[in-house]
Symmetry: C2
Subunit: 204 residues, 2 copies
């Protein structure tokens, strides 16, 4: 056993964890209608950052609803608690030095504000995926709009439940007019300009 291993009583800091990863931690909070392209963009950004050597994690319905939040339903109280826990979990991930992406409809301004307030200035990046409702409904990748229109799903965002448009999101994207690749490159450029990651090499 090495005798060279040393440590201190204090905990490893967020700054040390981030420095080790050559990045600054942040949370990219993707909000928008079902079918807007939140998960597609977040996954593409995750892939791109991974291939550039950055340390990331993605929270979405797939890994949160069946685990951490599997005790929550879809009434108002549970929807608020759902977003609160995702915000707090995201915060732990930034404390671990990671660049985190969270992709949830999160239709209410008040819920998103509570998450924003958990983070230091500049670490919470609200990304409004502002694809028009008509386009989302036309895509209907999970058949949910059809069910909502038929009354089989109640309180469906955009149909019989409001989506409150972000008042001052850091970034607005629209997958009706721009490709996933274009959106991803825009996000990489943003992260680079804000110093979260190193400058992105320009293609000659």
């Amino acid at each position: 056993m090495s005798k060279d291993i040393v440590w201190h009583e204090h905990a490893v800091t967020k700054e040390e964890r981030a420095r080790q990863k050559r990045q600054k931690p942040c949370l990219l909070w993707f909000t928008g209608l079902s079918g807007a392209g939140k998960s597609s963009i977040a996954n593409a950004l995750d892939q791109a950052l991974y291939h550039l050597g950055y340390h990331t994690f993605l929270l979405d319905g797939d890994n949160v609803r069946h685990g951490l939040n599997n005790d929550l339903g879809f009434n108002d109280k549970d929807r608020i608690e759902n977003i609160r826990r995702i915000g707090e979990a995201s915060k732990l991930f930034t404390d671990a030095g990671l660049i985190v992406m969270s992709a949830f409809i999160s239709p209410f301004i008040s819920d998103r504000r509570l998450v924003r307030e958990l983070f230091p200035e500049g670490e919470f990046i609200e990304v409004h995926v502002n694809t028009p409702l008509a386009v989302c409904e036309e895509r209907d990748p999970k058949g949910l709009y059809k069910k909502a229109r038929a009354g089989e799903i109640k309180h469906f965002t955009g149909i019989d439940s409001d989506y409150e448009t972000p008042e001052a999101p850091e970034i607005t994207l629209n997958t009706a007019d721009y490709s996933i690749q274009q959106c991803t490159e825009y996000l990489l450029s943003y992260l680079s300009k804000k110093g979260m990651i190193a400058p992105i090499a320009k293609a000659s």
Copy 2:
């Protein structure tokens, strides 16, 4: 903007995240009485792994009780939910490819078993910090035993609430007979033997 950035529709996998970090993810679950040394050992291990270049995170009362679990009290139902959420959050951290340490009294076999069952074989490492009650009470770093003996705190583990000894923990440590440094070196050796981290260089 680089044209070389490529990605795939599939999500970045746990294996890819771990490979990037040159480690295998796992959860070291520290259980034991208040004052047993759980947090001290976990922090020392965290420091040691950090200085060896590994990517880790530590969940403990300091960062969980005031955030993710700030809605929970100390009745039986809330204590179970507290441990469940910590288990699920830990799982997300191993999905991110990290080596995670969780330091909580977690006195009940059933709760610890539920956490263990969230993980693939070998990824959940139960570390029983088996420091004798008399030593913990003598240390009483937060003055909690004194308050419990005086009846000012009810349901205090070891005094008027049971601590259920782990039946088959992967590791048992005792900070009455071994130093924090010795315990940490033992854990590093274990992680190395199990292939979670590279072989530790021996001092000549």
